[in-house]
C-alpha cells in the first residue's frame, strides 16, 4: 500500500467539504495542520476529531493536512477515514452515533411523489435537503459520483445516513449497477436506510442477489428492520421484464424508469412531448399496478422550467404514475402540488366518504350516492384521496364537522 492517502474536495465551489491529505511516517507522532476559515471557532474541535479517528485506527505517526471549507464533523470523519483506508488495511469502521431522529421506518405504501437526488460525494447539497420537505432523499452512489470518487463517497454516504437529519424524508440510497452495487450495501444496510434503489435492473435474479446480500448483512449484525427495494428499469430488456422484476420479492415497493438510458438503449432522442416513451411508461405503470406496487416516473431535467415540469407531472399522474424523481429542491413543491388531488377529485371523494359513513351509521350494506351504487374499492380510493388531501394541506382534517349532506355526483 501507499504511505500517502487523500480524500475529499477543495475546489472553489466545494463548500461544506474538506480535502484531507494523510502521510504515514515512522516517527514524530501525529502532526495535524488545519487550514480553515472556521479555524478560530472550530479549529480545536477539528483537530480533536482527527486525533480521535487516527487513534481509533491505531495510527501513531502521521502528517495530516486538512483544507477545510466549513465541513461538518461527519464529513471530516468520512474524508479522513477514506484517506486512512488508502494507507492501511483494516476491517474497522469509525462510526459516529446514529441519530435517534434517523431511526424511523417507512410503510411500504407511503407516498413517494418526490424523491430528491443528492450526489453521494457532495456534502453541501445534502445538508439542507430535509428542509425542502421531499417525500424522500436519494443518496446517489451511482451516476452522480465520478469513478475515482466511488470509494470515498461510500464513507460519506454511510456517515450521512448516521449523522444527518433528513427531517422525516424517506432515506434512500442508489447503489451502483450490479455487481459493484452489492459492495455498496455493506456501507448502507447497517445504517438505517429505508429504500435501496437498484439501477439498470433487468431481471428478477438481480433483486434476489441484492436481497441475499441484505439478508447476510442482517444476519451478521442481528438487524430486523425491513429494507424496501426500488428497481429502476432503464433498458429495453429491463422494460420487457418489468413485471417479473416488480413481482420478484415482497420488499419491492416501486419500480422507477430511467428515460435517459432507455432512449439511448433504443437509439432514439428523448423529446419534451415524450411520444418515444409512451409505451415504456404505460408498460411500467401496468406492471406495477398488476404487482400492487408504485410506478415512479423519470426525472424532469430542465430545473429552470417550472411550467414544463408541471405539465410533465400532470401527464405522469394521468398515465398512472405515483411519483417522480427530482434533481433540484425547487421541483419538489411543483411535483407535490401536481400529484395532490385537485378540487374536483377532493369534492367527489368527500361525497363518497360521507355517503359511506352515512350508510355504515344506518347499518346499510350497500353504499349509494343518489341513484348510483358505490363499490368498496371506490370507497377505499376516496378515503385515500381524502387522507392525501388532508396531508397536503388541501383539506381541513375536521372537514366532516362542516360538511353538508352529500348530493348525487
Amino acid at each position: 500500500m501507499n504511505n500517502k492517502g487523500f480524500a475529499g474536495n477543495k475546489g472553489d465551489k466545494d463548500r461544506s467539504d474538506c480535502f484531507v491529505m494523510l502521510e504515514l511516517s515512522d516517527s514524530g507522532g501525529i502532526r495535524i495542520t488545519v487550514n480553515s476559515k472556521v479555524k478560530s471557532l472550530y479549529g480545536e474541535s477539528i483537530t480533536a476529531l482527527c486525533n480521535d479517528v487516527l487513534s481509533f485506527f491505531e495510527i501513531k505517526h502521521a502528517v495530516v493536512t486538512l483544507d477545510d471549507k466549513g465541513a461538518l464533523p461527519f464529513v471530516i470523519a468520512a474524508r479522513l477515514e477514506a484517506a486512512v483506508k488508502k494507507v492501511i488495511r483494516t476491517e474497522k469502521e469509525y462510526l459516529l452515533p446514529l441519530l435517534a431522529d434517523n431511526q424511523y421506518t417507512t410503510p411500504r405504501d407511503r407516498y413517494r411523489f418526490s424523491r430528491l437526488y443528492l450526489p453521494g460525494n457532495t456534502p453541501s447539497l445534502m445538508i439542507n435537503a430535509g428542509v425542502h420537505k421531499p417525500n424522500a432523499v436519494i443518496l446517489d452512489l451511482e451516476d452522480a459520483v465520478a469513478i475515482e470518487k466511488k470509494n470515498e463517497a461510500r464513507f460519506l454516504v454511510r456517515n450521512t445516513l448516521r449523522a444527518l437529519d433528513f427531517m422525516g424524508a424517506e432515506r434512500m440510497v442508489r447503489i451502483n449497477q450490479l455487481p459493484a452495487g452489492l459492495n455498496d450495501l455493506d456501507y448502507v444496510i447497517p445504517h438505517h436506510v429505508n429504500v435501496v434503489l437498484i439501477p439498470k435492473c433487468e431481471s428478477a435474479h438481480q433483486i434476489h442477489e441484492v436481497n441475499n446480500h441484505i439478508l447476510a448483512i442482517h444476519a451478521r449484525l442481528g438487524i430486523t428492520t425491513s429494507v424496501w427495494l426500488m428497481p429502476i428499469v432503464e433498458s429495453a430488456l429491463g422494460v420487457i421484464n418489468v413485471f417479473e422484476i416488480a413481482k420478484a420479492a415482497k420488499n419491492v415497493v416501486a419500480v422507477a424508469i430511467g428515460l435517459e438510458d432507455y432512449t439511448a438503449d433504443l437509439g432514439v432522442s428523448r423529446t419534451a412531448e415524450g411520444k418515444e416513451s409512451l409505451f415504456v411508461r404505460s408498460m411500467v405503470v401496468n406492471a406495477c399496478k398488476a404487482a400492487g406496487i408504485q410506478p415512479i416516473d423519470s426525472v424532469f431535467s430542465d430545473v429552470g422550467d417550472m411550467e414544463g415540469l408541471r405539465k410533465n407531472v400532470l401527464q405522469s399522474k394521468a398515465l398512472g404514475f405515483e411519483g417522480m424523481g427530482c434533481i433540484h429542491p425547487r421541483q419538489i413543491s411543483v411535483i407535490h402540488e401536481s400529484f395532490a388531488p385537485d378540487t374536483a377529485e377532493i369534492d367527489k371523494a368527500q361525497k363518497i366518504v360521507s355517503a359511506f359513513e352515512d350508510a355504515t351509521r344506518k347499518g346499510l350494506g350497500v353504499v349509494s350516492l343518489g341513484t348510483k351504487m358505490i363499490d368498496a374499492p371506490v370507497v377505499k380510493r376516496a378515503q385515500r384521496t381524502i387522507e392525501l388531501a388532508v396531508a397536503m394541506g388541501r383539506l381541513d382534517k375536521n372537514w366532516k364537522d362542516t360538511y353538508h349532506k352529500a348530493e348525487p355526483i
Partner: protein, 519 residues
C-alpha cells in the same frame, strides 16, 4: 489608542470615551440622546466670488483640489452611488499623495472593493483613517490593526446626523456626477455612468466647505433635473470617465437561484401574509441581495392574487420593483439608490419613481423620517443573538468586512424581519452574544431561518397572530440549539486589546467597539 478610557453603555457594551482624540458619547438607549442648540452651519459664501457667467470649470481634479486648499488633516468626502465602479475616490488620494499631503480623513458614504488601492495611502500616512464603511480588503486591513486612526462606522442616516450636528466637518466634498453643467448642477439619471440619483451626496453638497463636481458628461446649462444644486458647488471638473457602468449596476440585481435562499424568501413572504402585514395600502422596504429581491417577487405575486396594491416601496430599486410600479402593484417608489438600468430609466421617466436622500428617509436630526413609517422591512445580518441583537459589520471570526448602510435606520420600521440561514458553512448565525452589536434587539422583531422562525417575545401581537399559521414558529433558543447540534458549539473568538473601529448608533452615540484580530 489602547490607553483610552472605556465605559459600559446602555446596551452593556464597553465603548471608548474618545475616538481619534475627540470625546464621544456612549449609547444611552433608543431615542434617549437629544442634543440641544443649533445645527452645524457651513461657511458663508458670496456669489461675488464666483463668475457671473456661471462657468466654474477648472482644467483638472488636481487643480480643483489645490484651489480648494487641500492640506494635511483635512476631511474629504465622496459618495458611493457608483458602487464598485467608482473611479474618482482613488484619484483624489493619488493626487493628495503626489502633493505630499498627509493625515487625511476619508469620509465616504460607503466603500467597495474598488477602493482597495487606498490601502497604500493608509499605510503611508496619506490617509489617517476612514469614517464611513470599511468593506472587504479595507475592513480586513482595519481589523488587523493597520490603520493609523480608529475607523468610525456609521449608518447612512448617522452620516447625515454627524454632518448636521458638526461631529464631522467636511473640508472638501468631491461629487462624481453622471451628468453636470458648468455651474455645478448635477444628476444621476443621464450619461454613460448613470446611477439614478445622488442622494448620498446631498449633505456633502450643502455642508462641505468646498464642493467639487466631477463629470464625464458635461451638458450646456441647465442640467435638469438638478439633484445636486450648482449653487452649492465651487468647482466643476470634466474627466474622460467617472465610473465603470457595468460595475455601477451589478452583482445584487439578480434573484437568487439558491434553493435555500428561495425557501427563506418564501417563508418570509408567508410570514408577512399570515401576520396581516400584506394589505391594501401597505408599504415595504425593498432590499438588494438575492433573498430580498426574491421576497419582492413573492410580495408581487401575493398582491396580484389578492387584487391589492402597496402604497409605496422604499428602494434600492431594480427591475423587479420597477415592474411592480409599472403593473400598478405599488403606487410610488421612494428610492435611495438604483441598482440597475431599469431603475435608472424608471427614475428618469416615471414621476412616481421619486429620488430620496438620507435626509428624507433616515436622518436623526430631521422632524421625523420615512423609514419608521414602513410596515415591513427585510434585512440581512451576519449574526443574531438570543436577545435578537444583530450584527452586520463583522463576521463571527471578528473580521470587519461590511458597512452598516441604511440597515440601522431601517430597523425603525413597524416590523423588522431578518431572514438568515441557520448556519453558514458550519458557522451558526444565532449566538449567545453578537460579536459586534449594530442593532439593539428591541428593534428586531422576527428571525426567519430555513429551519424555523423566531419571533421577539416583545412582539406578543405577532406571536398571537402566528398561532395556527402552519409555519414552524420556534424560540430563538431552540433555533440556536438546533444549529449547534449540527455544527457543534463554536469556540469563543479571541481579540487583541487594541480598538480598531467603533460602531455609531443613528444618533451619534457609540454602540460598540471593534477590536483587532490577529491575521
Amino acid at each position: 489608542m489602547s490607553k483610552v478610557k472605556l465605559v459600559v453603555n446602555a446596551a452593556g457594551r464597553s465603548v471608548p470615551t474618545e475616538v481619534n482624540g475627540k470625546p464621544v458619547i456612549a449609547y444611552k438607549g433608543i431615542g434617549k440622546h437629544k442634543p440641544e442648540g443649533r445645527k452645524f452651519g457651513p461657511r458663508i459664501s458670496s456669489c461675488a466670488d464666483f463668475p457671473d457667467d456661471g462657468n466654474k470649470l477648472v482644467p483638472s481634479l488636481k487643480e480643483a483640489l489645490i484651489r480648494s486648499g487641500l492640506k494635511d488633516g483635512m476631511t474629504i468626502s465622496t459618495h458611493h452611488h457608483f458602487r464598485n465602479g467608482d473611479l474618482i475616490a482613488v484619484q483624489i488620494f493619488d493626487i493628495a499623495s503626489e502633493l505630499g499631503v498627509k493625515n487625511l480623513v476619508w469620509f465616504p458614504s460607503a466603500s467597495f472593493e474598488c477602493h482597495a488601492p487606498l490601502i497604500k495611502y493608509l499605510e503611508d500616512g496619506t490617509i489617517h483613517h476612514i469614517e464611513g464603511s470599511m468593506n472587504g480588503q479595507l475592513g480586513r486591513f482595519t481589523s488587523h490593526g493597520k490603520m493609523k486612526g480608529v475607523g468610525v462606522l456609521r449608518s447612512h442616516g448617522g452620516r447625515y446626523q454627524a454632518v448636521q450636528d458638526g461631529e464631522v466637518a467636511i473640508d472638501i466634498a468631491v461629487i462624481a456626477a453622471p451628468t453636470a453643467d458648468f455651474f455645478g448642477n448635477a444628476n444621476g439619471v443621464d450619461g454613460p455612468a448613470a446611477c439614478g440619483l445622488l442622494g448620498f451626496a446631498l449633505a456633502d453638497s450643502q455642508y462641505a466647505d468646498k464642493v467639487i463636481v466631477v463629470t464625464d458628461n458635461l451638458v450646456p446649462f441647465p442640467c435638469v433635473p438638478w439633484q445636486i444644486q450648482g449653487n452649492y458647488v465651487d468647482h466643476v471638473v470634466q474627466v474622460d470617465q467617472v465610473g465603470v457602468p457595468s460595475k455601477i449596476v451589478s452583482g445584487t440585481t439578480e434573484i437568487t437561484k439558491s434553493p435555500d435562499r428561495l425557501l427563506l424568501a418564501e417563508m418570509t413572504a408567508r410570514f408577512c401574509e399570515h401576520a396581516g402585514i400584506i394589505k391594501d395600502g401597505f408599504s415595504f422596504q425593498a432590499g438588494a441581495g438575492g433573498t430580498a429581491l426574491s421576497i419582492g417577487i413573492y410580495f408581487a405575486e401575493l398582491l396580484k392574487a389578492k387584487g391589492m396594491k402597496a402604497r409605496f416601496a422604499r428602494g434600492g430599486s431594480n427591475k423587479y420593483l420597477v415592474n411592480m410600479l409599472n403593473e400598478g402593484l405599488v403606487d410610488f417608489i421612494l428610492d435611495g439608490q438604483t441598482f440597475d438600468l431599469d431603475g435608472v430609466k424608471s427614475m428618469r421617466e416615471n414621476p412616481n419613481h421619486v429620488s430620496t436622500s438620507p435626509f428624507t428617509s433616515y436622518n436623526y436630526h430631521g422632524k421625523g423620517n420615512f423609514a419608521s413609517m414602513l410596515d415591513v422591512v427585510i434585512l440581512g445580518a451576519t449574526e443574531v443573538d438570543v436577545n435578537f441583537n444583530a450584527n452586520v459589520v463583522t463576521h463571527s471570526d471578528g473580521l470587519l468586512l461590511h458597512g452598516i448602510g441604511g440597515w440601522q435606520n431601517c430597523l425603525f420600521a413597524k416590523c423588522t424581519i431578518l431572514p438568515v440561514p441557520l448556519f453558514r458553512d458550519r458557522i451558526p448565525v444565532i449566538r449567545d452574544e453578537v460579536t459586534t452589536l449594530c442593532g439593539p434587539g428591541e428593534l428586531i422583531d422576527v428571525i426567519v431561518t430555513e429551519r424555523g422562525i423566531a419571533i421577539n417575545p416583545l412582539r406578543t401581537d405577532l406571536i398571537e397572530r402566528m398561532k395556527n399559521s402552519g409555519l414552524p414558529i420556534k424560540t430563538i433558543h431552540e433555533l440556536k440549539a438546533e444549529a449547534e447540534k449540527i455544527c457543534g458549539v463554536p469556540a469563543k473568538q479571541k481579540f487583541e486589546n487594541e480598538i480598531v473601529a467603533v460602531v455609531k448608533w443613528i444618533d451619534g452615540t457609540v454602540l460598540d467597539t471593534i477590536y483587532k484580530v490577529m491575521p
